[in-house]
């Protein structure tokens, strides 16, 4: 019984243990599934983490590129602004800041321009290199000049992208410029020396992108443009300087020539003056003896001889007249003329001189009109000289005005001067003669002048007189219609 009870209870225990075991196993199984689930999700999470990291790394890379580009663009803009406002070629490379270049991603930069005369590349700018490094680069670049000259010829930028690693060229450039990556871009101003811009970095982590190439190309274009502008400016500036220099030289030459002319003119005046004096004495004798002969004080003369003597007398008078005119001109020119300065009334002078020619006018039936401003002021002048001006001009007018013509004398004030115009309805003066009219011994070539004798000194003399009074004299004319001679005299006090 007891045994049976024991067995029974054992069985119960076993059964319940079995049940508990079964339950436990079930729980373990459940836990196991849970653990499996968790592990799985952890693995999944880890996979997700991997995805996140990979995405993130891409994102960072993009961001880095973007940042680099933005910084580079800012730097480029800054550089462009400075470069484009620089007008001296050698200043262009000095204004480029190393900080801006670093923002472009390069700590080393070098610029060389080809000097066709010296047949070599000359450095213009260097950044990130020491003095002896620069000296070392120069000959090496010139040794391989063909590479760079070719670059200038093709005008294409090349960089670590276009030159594959482990090639001789890449190694060479890396070695010469002591960099790991680089961009070389040609500088191509339209005229003059061309060259190239080298930019590089030692940084192993940097890879050159297409964007870097583009930025450097833009920069080197900017530099090229700036050099071009600077050269143009320099050229213009130099031309202007040369022009100014030339003007200066010419002015000096002219001044010298003018001085020379003045000297010659003075010598001429002196010469004329002395010759005239010397001429006057024998002329006086000739005239004296001629007079004695004409008056037959030395005996009767045949009519023919008398006629000839009359001619001698007349020609001598003409000569004396001419010599006097010349002497007057010389005197006025040299400032030795004696001028009796008095206040003169133009009305009186004009009416006096008009009277003198009135007979001639009547003979040719020429109408003489005077038109004088009523309140014309008095002028300070030598009476004889002033009369001479009027006589001369009126004489000419009568001489060249045909019958039934008209002569007008006008006088009026105009801006501090008195202007006198003497107009005729004569044959006029050809335009090319107008400018030479007042020159000594000049005579207009026309039929009247061929008939009537004259010295060619009259107009020259009155020009000298008017100019001695600080006035001006000029002539206007229309051929066949008439001429107007005008002169001014300053109004004083």
């Amino acid at each position: 019984m007891a045994n049976l009870f024991t067995i029974l209870s054992l069985a119960i225990v076993i059964v319940s243990l079995a049940i508990v075991m079964m339950l436990k196993i079930d729980k373990i199984k459940k836990l196991q599934t849970m653990v499996d689930k968790l592990r799985k999700s952890l693995e999944e999470m880890d996979e997700q983490a991997k995805l996140i990291v990979r995405t993130d790394i891409e994102l960072n890379k993009t961001q880095e590129e973007l940042d680099k580009k933005i910084t580079g663009l800012y730097a480029l803009q800054r550089l462009s602004r400075i470069i484009s406002t620089t007008l001296e070629e050698n200043q262009i490379f000095k204004v480029i800041e190393s900080a801006s270049f670093e923002d472009l991603g390069f700590e080393k930069a070098f610029t060389l321009l080809w000097d066709a005369q010296e047949n070599k590349f000359i450095p213009q700018l260097s950044m990130g290199y020491l003095g002896d490094e620069i000296e070392a680069i120069k000959p090496q670049v010139n040794l391989d000049r063909d590479i760079y000259l070719d670059l200038i010829k093709t005008g294409k930028t090349f960089s670590s992208i276009s030159v594959p690693p482990n090639t001789a060229l890449r190694e060479k450039i890396n070695h010469i410029f002591e960099v790991n990556s680089f961009v070389i871009s040609p500088i191509l101003p339209k005229e003059g020396n061309k060259g190239f811009l080298f930019a590089g970095t030692e940084n192993m982590d940097v890879t050159i992108t297409k964007g870097d190439e583009e930025l450097m190309t833009i920069l080197s274009n900017q530099i090229g443009q700036a050099i071009e502008n600077a050269r143009l400016f320099e050229k213009t500036w130099r031309t202007q300087q040369e022009l100014e220099k030339k003007v200066e030289e010419r002015t000096r030459e002219l001044t010298l020539a003018f001085e020379e002319v003045k000297k010659i003119s003075k010598r001429k005046t002196d010469f004329i003056s002395s010759v005239s004096h010397e001429l006057r004495t024998p002329l006086t004798s000739i005239k004296g003896y001629a007079a004695i002969l004409i008056e037959e004080k030395l005996g009767h003369l045949p009519v023919a001889a008398k006629e000839r003597l009359e001619k001698i007398n007349r020609h001598t008078d003409e000569l004396v007249h001419m010599v006097n005119d010349l002497l007057d001109i010389a005197r006025i020119e040299s400032g030795r003329a004696l001028m009796k300065m008095e206040k003169q009334d133009l009305k009186t002078i004009i009416s006096n001189t008009a009277d003198l020619i009135s007979i001639q006018c009547k003979n040719k039936n020429i109408e003489l009109i005077t038109d004088i401003q009523k309140d014309i002021p008095l002028v300070l002048a030598d009476r004889t000289q002033l009369e001479r001006v009027f006589i001369n001009l009126l004489d000419n007018a009568v001489k060249f005005t045909p019958e039934n013509g008209k002569i007008t004398i006008k006088a009026h004030t105009e801006d501090n001067v008195i202007q006198v115009d003497i107009s005729d309805t004569g044959i006029g003066i050809p335009p090319d003669s107008l400018s030479m009219l007042f020159e000594e011994f000049y005579r207009v070539d026309n039929p009247i002048n061929q008939q009537v004798k004259g010295t060619g000194l009259g107009l020259s003399l009155i020009k000298h007189i008017i100019e001695a009074y600080k006035g001006k004299i000029w002539a206007e004319s229309q051929e066949g219609k008439g001429s107007t001679f005008s002169f001014t005299l300053p109004i004083k006090g």
């Binding site: 693995e43 983490a49 990291v53 993130d56 880095e64 933005i70 900080a99 670093e102 192993m204 982590d205």
Partner: protein, 436 residues
């Protein structure tokens, strides 16, 4: 050494002339313990840059008596003539420490090319000592750390020590061991903040400045004592990603195996790249995706950049790792980076003891050192200035800021189990807020 004797002599005299300021014709003793003036120059010529920065710093410190100069410069200015000019401009009597950097951080902005000089004028309550250790490779980082610690302690026997600031060669293999050596001498939980010098992201050479010398393979340090108030915040902002893994075989700064497989597999798997490709790019990749090591008792993952990958697939790191630790691959974003800046800033502000008020201006006088990882500079790029804006806003616009980008930072993680043991870090921003 010359300076050290000078320092002890001053200690004996007990600072006869405490810093004073003049207000309304009445001489008032200044309550601040540290007065500073920062000068910045972006001149390209080292001599001109030194002169300008010193002149500006001197104006900012109101020509007070200067006790110490801290100098950070970009690589292009890192040369002996820079240090000589600074030395001469300061009349040859002021100790100088500093280092080179990828960029200079200052109130005026982040400068890729530049020089920042901070001149300090200290009250009689603040003591300091500077020291330098050379030839670290030859001596091993551990014993170099010990040597630096001993030199710094010289003359500090009876004075309360507050803080040590260290600048070290940024390309040193065993950054962690230098810290261990220092801690052996200064104490395990002694507050230590440091920056590893950087270069212009080429990882070729970094420079340390010590008086008139420009050094490599060296470390320089300042030990502060007496009554210096400071707060410190350090954060990286990188987040763990993927499943946790275990370092199964490592030694010092080399990880051989992770989960029983060659360590490089973690990068091969996540980035889907082969060994050769990774070997070429690992430096940049690990800046974006460093390894995070979980430390028991610390709240943060300690980050490690990878210097190189060996052909057998082992990873050589910038700092040490512990065999058996759990590690994760870490990922950072600009946003998480800037969030870390905000957090570090709050920490640095919080720990500062009772701030001292400048009675003339009725405002808190303090200044901030920023040791910012170049990895963050690389990640933030154009937004680096945004980080600076956050810092400026956090500390107040007028608070002087001086800083540099580092190849490694040394500072305590925020500790729970014990007070602030310093670690070698990567990828962090460390802010040291010193109350004047």
């Amino acid at each position: 050494m010359v300076f050290l004797t000078g320092f002890i002599a001053r200690l004996a005299k007990g600072f006869m002339n405490p810093a004073r300021i003049f207000g309304a014709g009445v001489e008032i003793e200044r309550k601040g313990e540290v007065n500073i003036g920062i000068g910045l120059s972006t001149e390209k010529d080292p001599i001109l840059a030194a002169r300008e920065a010193i002149r500006l710093a001197d104006i900012n410190i109101h020509s007070k008596k200067i006790d110490l100069a801290i100098v950070f410069s970009s690589m292009d200015l890192a040369c002996v003539s820079l240090l000589k000019t600074i030395h001469l401009s300061l009349k040859g009597r002021v100790p100088i420490v500093g280092c080179s950097s990828a960029a200079i951080i200052s109130n005026q902005g982040v400068f890729k090319h530049g020089l920042a000089v901070m001149l300090l004028s200290l009250s009689k309550n603040v003591y300091f000592n500077i020291a330098c250790v050379r030839d670290i490779k030859e001596k091993t980082a551990l014993s170099a750390g010990r040597e630096l610690g001993e030199k710094l302690l010289y003359g500090f026997r009876d004075i309360r020590r507050d803080l040590s600031v260290i600048f070290s060669d940024g390309l040193m293999d065993e950054g962690s061991n230098l810290i261990y050596g220092l801690q052996e001498r200064l104490g395990k939980s002694f507050p230590l903040v440091g920056a590893s010098a950087s270069d212009n992201m080429r990882f070729l050479r970094t420079y340390l400045y010590f008086n008139q010398e420009v050094l490599t393979d060296s470390a320089v340090g300042i030990l502060w004592g007496g009554k210096l108030n400071f707060g410190l915040g350090i954060k990286h902002g990188w987040k763990p990603l993927g499943k946790p893994r275990t370092i199964t075989k490592s030694e010092g700064n080399i990880i051989y195996e992770i989960d029983g497989e060659p360590a490089v597999k973690i990068y091969e798997e996540y980035l889907a790249r082969d060994l050769a490709g990774l070997q070429k790019e690992i430096r940049r990749i690990s800046i974006l995706y460093p390894i995070g090591m979980y430390l028991a008792g610390e709240q943060e993952y300690l980050l490690r950049n990878i210097l190189s990958i060996e052909n057998n697939g082992s990873l050589r790191l910038q700092g040490n790792v512990i065999q058996g630790s759990i590690i994760r691959l870490m990922i950072g974003t600009k946003e998480s980076c800037l969030n870390a800046t905000r957090q570090a800033l709050d920490e640095a502000k919080k720990i500062l003891f009772a701030p001292i008020v400048d009675i003339t201006k009725n405002e808190v006088k303090n200044f901030v050192f920023v040791f910012d990882s170049v990895s963050r500079y690389m990640l933030l790029r154009r937004e680096a200035n945004q980080e600076l804006e956050i810092i400026k806003e956090g500390f107040g616009k007028d608070t002087p800021i001086i800083g540099l980008y580092t190849y490694g930072e040394q500072a305590p993680l925020k500790a729970i189990s014990y007070h602030g043991q310093a670690y070698f870090h990567n990828q962090t921003i460390a802010m040291l807020n010193i109350g004047g």
